[in-house]
């Protein structure tokens, strides 16, 4: 009697362990499904990178980056552009050449001196527009933004193209 009682207990505890394992497994599956779903949801609705809140990768003069592109465009693209479009965040110092508006009603400040062939064309954010309202040609300033493309002479356009920066804001020095 005593022996069979013992094996019964063992059976019961085996069943209990199996139930426990199944329970834990179910909880794990549930939790990972929630996390997985959350990740997918987050990925799908992932916010755009806030360029102004991103650490500056390079701080340099407008003429310096233009000359880097003139010297070797491939090397400069390798250095500054990102394969998923999250390219380098730059702080560029330069002289205001002109200020215009784009079709999005954002300000476009071109940093270029009169004698330079190409400069840096900086499109400001909606928040940054007011900061450039009182600027004029010849002002010296620093602009932070993300680089989109480099400078080069285009033989079809028959002109020099500027370095392009967007999501820009003035940097107070």
């Amino acid at each position: 009697m005593g022996a069979s009682n013992h094996s019964n207990k063992q059976k019961i505890s085996k069943v209990m362990t199996r139930k426990k394992i199944i329970k834990i497994a179910l909880i794990l599956i549930g939790v990972s499904a929630i996390i997985g779903g959350g990740v997918v949801y987050y990925m799908f609705n992932m916010p755009h990178r806030d360029v102004q809140a991103t650490k500056t990768d390079y701080s340099l003069k407008a003429s310096a980056i233009v000359n880097e592109y003139f010297a070797d465009a491939n090397k400069a693209n390798e250095k500054y552009l990102d394969s998923e479009g999250e390219s380098k965040v730059l702080e560029v110092q330069g002289v205001v050449y002109d200020i215009t508006d784009d079709f999005n009603n954002n300000k476009v400040v071109r940093l270029k001196s009169d004698e330079e062939k190409a400069g840096v064309s900086c499109t400001f954010t909606a928040e940054g527009n007011a900061s450039v309202a009182n600027l004029k040609k010849g002002d010296v300033l620093t602009v932070k933004g993300v680089i989109r493309s480099g400078a080069a002479f285009d033989s079809d356009l028959d002109m020099y193209e500027d370095v392009i920066m967007e999501k820009c804001s003035l940097v107070s020095k």
Binding site: M46, E84, F103, R148, D154, D156
Partner: protein, 190 residues
Amino acid sequence: MTKRTVTSVFLGAAMMALFAFAPAINKLLSSKTHVKLFSTTPAENIEANNYKSVSVIDTKTGDVVFSVPMQSFEFEKALMQKHYNSPKFLDTKKYPKAKLVAKITNLSEVNFEKDGTYSAKVKGTLELHGKTNSVDEKATITVKGSAIKVNSTFNITLADYNIAFEDGKPSTNIAKTVAITVEADYAAKD
């Protein structure tokens, strides 16, 4: 050679140089541009906007050039923008610019000096994603004083530019043909 001939040769060369580098008044430049991509499928509509293209029109020869910085296209969803830029799709690090080089073929029907709306036929090539194809599209040119505006809408077939979506979700969510809408304001190029 006498001093006089040297002087006149020098003067002549200087005059020629001056003419060669004289500002070309027949050229129009636009850096105020808007290029929109639009793809529609039953699954979703995808739109991307670009405000950083540069364009030049030569009113005498009818040459039209459009240079489009590919990383300047902005999508509503950040993930879509990353997909678009990635080497699997447009590979914008390797091909940072797209370029249209074309000619207005009915230039005689467009008067850049007279106010009005003109329908222009534009024929040439589009280089995108490292692949060049011929394009033959229509554009509307609106002249109002010295302000000249160009509008155009046309379709491109992604497969023509080796933009393939073989696997995964994007293949069902992105249309095979994408509508491109172009708007540009031109002024005399200095």
